[in-house]
Each structure stands twice: as C-alpha cells, then as structure tokens.
C-alpha cells in the first residue's frame, strides 16, 4: 500500500520539461478518454469553455458533445444522472465547479453513489469520479475556497484522494477513473498553475497511497493537496535550524494509508497533521485518533493539528490568517518537540 515517491512537492518548478497541475489533469483526462470510450466528462461549463479552470480544455472539441456534456445548472442532477450513466456502463467523470457547490449533490452522493453497490450486493459497481477543485488562497468570494473533504471521508462506500503534484495529478486521475468504486477527487485549485516534472512513460503501481516526500528524523509532518508546498518550505526552514522533518503526503484520505505515517512516527515520536479543513470532526481528527491508537507508546507528544479554524471560510483579504502557513507549521513542530 506504500509508495515512496522521490518527487518533492514543488521541485521541478523551474524545469523546462515540467507542466502545470492543470495541464497534467487535462492530459490525464484525455488519456483516460482515449483508453476507454465509456469515459464521459460532465458538468457545468466543461464544454466549449473547458471549465472555469480549463481543466477540460479542448476535450469536447476532440471527443464530441456526447462525451463531454455541458449539463443544466444543477449539481444533484450532475451526480444523479451520472449514477444512471454508470449503471448503463459509462464511467462518468463529474466536475463540481467549486468546493462550495457540491452540497446540492450531497444527497445523491451519500444515498446513491456510495450505497448502490452495497444495496445491490455487488451487482452494480459505481465507477464514478467526482472532481472537486478545493481549498483557499485564491482571493475568491464566499463558497469558492472551502475544504469539504472530511465530509466525504465519513461516508462509507466512497474513496477520497487528493493530488499535490503535477505527476500525481496525471496518474491519480487515471487511477480514479479506472477504479470500479466511486472516487471523490480533490484538486488543490491554488496549485493548478504550479509546475512539476511529469514523466508519462512509467506508470506507478498505485498512487492511492501515502508517499514520503522527504525523509527526516525529528518530527513527522503529514498533509495532502494544497498544503504540501507549505510543508516543503517548512522542512527547508527547519533544516536551516538544524531540525529534520519527515514530510508525508497522505494522498489517499479515505481509506487512509497509515503504514508510512506509523513507521515514521515510530522513528520520530512526533506528528503534526496539516489541513485547511476546519478542525472539528475532520480528517485531521481521524489521523490523530488512529495514529494514537496504533502507535501510542511511540508518541513523545500528542499528535498536533494545524488546521482551519472552526469558522466559515473568512473574507479573502484575511484568508492568510485562516490558512496553514510556514509559521503555523513550524510553531506546531516546536510545540510538539517541546513536550
């Protein structure tokens, strides 16, 4: 279940051969559509516009209007008709335009997408992907900067993943589309335009697993998606101060791939979990609880969390106050090591 990826979160940003995460997702979708004629892309404005983030740019032009569907403006409709298309043998890739707009489709996700297979005792599989650009830091208005991943981690029947590099974006979206189970795919919109190295030749065995991004000995710091570059910076800053951080990209939020985290904690004795999501009853709560259950005697300090506050997402002019940043991560590391 474990893959150790050499690719650091932001390396290759200056390489000529590198691509943006947005481009990598577009390439991954294209590859999946070429490989399987049953793969459909559907959502609001995914056609001529190519989506508001251009992730589906050019796909309707090349695959036609019956494989890239501009849907009416209704998210329950996107998910609910996607369920029917999946029952018919298609592999719908549903785009939710922004994190805050998945909720009209929440009922179909929890009542049908997640339960159809269980209800039918396996007669139906549900090969659907729900793509959600998520997280803050883009100076947007309300409902455009949320981190709803914890809701989906609490829903049995779904798989939840998030990519943090261009290479992962390319491979993970393809692995998600190939999955016979529904996958909620969280894309860190703030990182869409950051570049990373991409080698399309050699496919990794799996990308739905935690990846150790940097080895270290003093404290383990784990996160996913938009915060990974923050962790990379923190590791550099800490190194400058003579502290060695082990950086882990969870990638699979549900199910959690905890082995690499546990192995790391047995080594460092300290764990800080980072996420933009509000703290209460969240993915960070789960990581803290599980790691404590399974590595109790290894922990020299409680698992500390750097997370969003338990408030609605604030106005964008003060969103930096809300978001995990270098200082907050280093402060948490300090507090952990001070135990």
């Amino acid at each position: 279940m474990t893959a150790t990826s050499a690719a650091p979160a932001t390396s290759g940003a200056q390489q000529a051969t590198s691509v943006t995460m947005a481009k990598a997702l577009n390439m991954g979708l294209r590859a999946a559509m070429e490989a399987d004629p049953k793969v459909l892309v559907m959502g609001e404005d995914v056609g001529k516009l190519g989506g508001v983030f251009r992730i589906t740019d050019g796909l309707q032009k090349d695959f036609g209007e019956h494989r890239v569907l501009d849907t009416p403006l209704a998210e329950s409709g996107i998910i609910g008709t996607g369920v029917g298309l999946a029952l018919r043998g298609y592999r719908p890739v549903c785009e939710i335009q922004f994190d805050g707009f998945v909720f009209p489709g929440f009922d179909q996700i929890i009542s049908q997408v997640a339960k159809v297979t269980y209800r039918s005792q396996g007669v139906w599989s549900m090969p659907m992907v729900i793509r959600i650009p998520f997280g803050g830091g883009i100076g947007a208005v309300e409902h455009h900067a949320e981190s709803p991943e914890s809701f989906f981690c609490h829903i049995a029947g779904l798989r939840v993943v998030s990519c943090s590099t261009a290479a992962d974006a390319y491979w993970m979206i393809q692995e998600a589309i190939a999955s016979p189970d529904p996958v909620v795919f969280f894309e860190p919109k703030r990182r869409y335009w950051e570049k990373g190295a991409l080698d399309t030749a050699t496919a990794p065995q799996t990308t739905f697993s935690a990846a150790v991004r940097r080895e270290g000995t003093d404290c383990t710091v784990a996160s996913y998606g938009p915060s990974m570059p923050v962790l990379a910076k923190a590791a550099d800053a800490a190194a400058a101060e003579g502290r060695s951080l082990e950086i882990i990209d969870l990638r699979s939020l549900s199910p959690l791939d905890l082995e690499p985290v546990l192995a790391s904690v047995r080594k460092t004795g300290h764990l800080v979990v980072v996420s933009e999501a509000p703290r209460e009853s969240s993915i960070t709560s789960e990581v803290a609880a599980r790691v404590t259950e399974e590595a109790f005697y290894s922990l020299a300090a409680p698992v500390l969390r750097v997370a969003g506050f338990d408030t609605p997402y604030p106005p964008s002019r003060i969103e930096e106050e809300y978001l995990p940043d270098l200082d907050k991560v280093l402060d948490a590391v300090d507090r952990s090591l001070a135990y």
Binding site: T71, S76, G80, T81, V83, R88, R119, V123, D181, P255
Partner: protein, 425 residues
C-alpha cells in the same frame, strides 16, 4: 394577452385566520382535499369505465383481446394476493414492515405490461406490480421487508432497478440511464427491428415526490438531453398523511407543460388505459420524442405502510368511495359480460393465487439471517484494506465468544470476549 390569474376562492383561505382548534376535527371536505384538488381538470384518459364499459380511445389504440384481458386480470389478482399476504405476515411479526400496493394494481400492471424486454424500469418502493411484470418472483421482494438485505433481485438481468427509498433520487438515476440509452444509439435508430432493439426507460414515483428537487432536475435533464424516459407518477392522492393538494394547486401532469414535453393524465384504476398510454409513451421515447410524463390517477386503498394509521388523517368515507373504482372488479365484470372468461377461469386464478400466497408465506418464515460478514461485503467492488481489517478484527472478536454458553454472535450477552484481556476472567 392577459395573464392567467390565480385568485383564491373567498373563505378558502384558512390562514392567517385559522386559530387554535381550526384543525381539531378534520372535515370531510378537508379529508377529500386530495381528490378535489386533482379530479378537476379535463382529459382523463379512460378505456374501461368503473362500470366495465369499454370505449376505444382515438389517441391510444389498443387491441383488446380476451387473452389480454384474462392475462391482465390474472396479473392483478395474483399481485393483490401476495400483497395482502405480505400485510398479514407483517402483522404476524414475520416482516418488519410492508408497503402495500392495494388499489394501485391497474396503474402498475398496465405500465409493467407496456414495457418491452429491452426497456429499463426504476421503481420507488411500492412497485411490487412492476416487479411482477419484470419476472421477479414475489419472494425476491421479501429480503428488504424482513430486513435480511437491502435488495433481493438482479437489477441488471431483470432491468428492474433496486427499490429507492429516498424520495425522488431514482428519477435522476433513471434520466441518466436513459441518456445512456441515447448515447448508445438505441433511440430512434430507424433500424429494421427498431421496436425490439430501440430502448426506453420508465421511472416510478408518487404524488408527494413531485415536490422534490430531484424530480424537477430529472425533468430538466431529460428535456435538455432528449432522454427516452417516461416519468410515471402514481398519484394515489396521499403522501403518508398529506393530501396531494399540499403538493400542488393543479393536476400534476401539467408540470410537463413547463418543461416542454407531453403530460397525460390516465385513469390509474383502468388497466387498459394505463397499458395503452404507457405503451404510447414508451414508443414516443423509443423513437426519439421523449421524455413523456404520465400521471396515473389512482388511490392508496390501504395505509401508507404497515406502520401507518390512516384513521388519524383521512375518513373511511373517502376510502369507501374509491372502492367503487376498484381496478380488478371492472375487468371481471367486462370479462363476464363479454364472455371473455368463464367461472372456471376465475376459479383457476383464485386457486393459483392461493398457491402463490402459501409459497410466499412458507418462503418468508424460512428465510435465513445473513452472517456478520454481510455487513462488510460489497461496500466496495475493489479490495479495501481498512474495511478488510475491520472485518477481520470483528470476526476475531466474535470468535472470542465461542464456547461461551450464554452467548451468540453479536448477542448482547453478559459474558464478554475472551479474545482480549477480559479473557483472563
């Protein structure tokens, strides 16, 4: 042109004047509100009147043979029989709950028999008659109601989807499936044997369901993508305790006008009308002119479910009034009058019904309870390490009880697991 106006009949308004006590004793007029609100409005399609008089309909031709009538009669009698048996089984504690279809036999058998083998159906939770028409044995319905599982037939092979309990969900799922039929080139193909190869979908929902956003979105998507789907609304006048007028001011089939596709109201207690209209609608969809909405105007003769107590919200008068529109009786009368069937036939169907009921009952009481592993199976199609581990740990935990006289798997016994430190004791 002047806008159509909506002016409340004076005094009809109970608000804000309605003070305490206003709802104390439901009046008959309040109680038959459901009928009042919808029995107005022109153009109810009917072929066989409650009195058993057959009148062909110009728009919905149907070749009414004695064989057809006998088959439909038999379907309705058998379906009603096992429905009543299930109700009795619930009363005797053999089922956790039952959802009766009593009164809706014609609405369901008519629609079910209009389907072609290649068509797909998405039921709600009351469509036992449709299940019957799709070749599902009534005993396959029992798992849900006895609580041994969440479904019980092969929805793919039978082209009859699992029951959907969350009101309205299935309307969007059906629309998506129908979109897929179209994308597959199975609609309006103009092929040689099109009527046997081209496909359509039909989705079932109730009068109350029409208020749900999902039903609206299903109609929006179906119109936008020209999906070959028939929206079949069984207006049985009640959503548990709420009469249909709580959901709509106007007959429900008029909703279709707002989306730009046909909406038809059919006498839901007339199996011939339901058959003819549904066949027409499915063929419209099949040939590329979908979607179509059908409102089958019928009545829920029994409680909402075996857990419900209708005496709290509707008058016996109302139910009595509807008995005169019984869907089976009018066919029996016509068959007798027209000589389409003799007493031997009716006796034969009765005997067959009793056999079915006996087999149904015997099956029920013998149904096995699944083991704990069912809890973890089919949550995912691919392996899932976290769930596999939860299952392994739980089975190991249960194993700790073995040999403990008082205990059984998962029982709330007092002696507990020896698989752990507790085992020392």
């Amino acid at each position: 042109m002047a806008p159509e106006r909506w002016i409340k009949s004076p005094g009809a308004d109970t608000l804000p004047d309605a003070g305490p006590g206003s709802a104390a004793v439901p009046s008959a007029s309040q109680m038959v509100a459901g009928l009042r609100a919808t029995s107005q409005g022109e153009g109810l399609v009917e072929l066989l009147s409650p009195e058993g008089v057959l009148t062909p309909h110009p728009d919905y031709p149907l070749d009414v043979t004695p064989e057809l009538l006998r088959d439909l009669y038999r379907d309705m009698v058998l379906v009603r029989r096992f429905d009543r048996e299930a109700n009795a089984l619930q009363r005797q504690g053999q089922l956790g709950i039952w959802v009766p279809l009593l009164g809706q036999e014609a609405a369901q058998i008519g629609a079910g028999r209009a389907m072609r083998p290649q068509d797909m159906a998405f039921p709600s939770y009351r469509e036992h008659g449709i299940a019957w028409c799709r070749g599902i044995d009534p005993t396959e319905l029992l798992g849900i109601f006895r609580g041994t599982d969440h479904s019980g037939w092969d929805p793919k092979a039978t082209r009859f989807h699992d029951y959907t309990i969350v009101i309205g969900n299935q309307v969007l799922n059906a629309t998506g499936y129908a979109m897929g039929q179209r994308f597959d080139g199975k609609v309006g193909s103009g092929g040689p044997d099109a009527e046997n190869t081209d496909e359509a979908t039909i989705v079932f929902f109730g009068d109350g369901a029409t208020s749900q956003g999902d039903v609206h979105e299903g109609m929006v998507y179906a119109a936008a993508f020209d999906a070959p789907v028939v929206f079949y609304c069984q207006n049985n006048q009640w959503a548990i305790s709420e009469p249909v007028e709580k959901q709509s001011r106007v007959p429900l089939h008029k909703r279709a006008l707002g989306y730009g596709f046909p909406g038809i109201r059919v006498d839901g207690n007339d199996v011939l009308a339901c058959l003819a209209v549904t066949r027409w609608a499915l063929d419209e969809c099949r040939s590329g002119n979908g979607p179509v909405m059908i409102e089958a105007f019928t009545y829920r003769m029994d409680a909402h479910t075996t857990s419900d107590d209708p005496t709290r919200y509707r008058l016996a008068d109302e139910t009595e009034a509807w008995k005169m529109f019984d869907p089976i009786e009018r066919v029996r009368v016509y068959l007798t009058r027209s000589g389409g069937a003799d007493q031997a036939f009716f006796d034969g169907v009765q005997a067959e019904a009793d056999e079915l009921a006996a087999r149904f009952r015997a099956f029920t009481v013998a149904m096995p309870t699944p083991g704990p592993e069912r809890m973890f199976s089919h949550v995912y199609t691919a392996p899932h390490h976290q769930l596999d581990r939860q299952q392994a740990e739980y089975l190991e935990y249960l194993a700790g009880f073995e040999g403990d006289a008082e205990s059984g798997a998962g029982g709330t016994v007092n002696g507990h697991a020896g698989a752990t430190a507790g085992g020392a004791r």
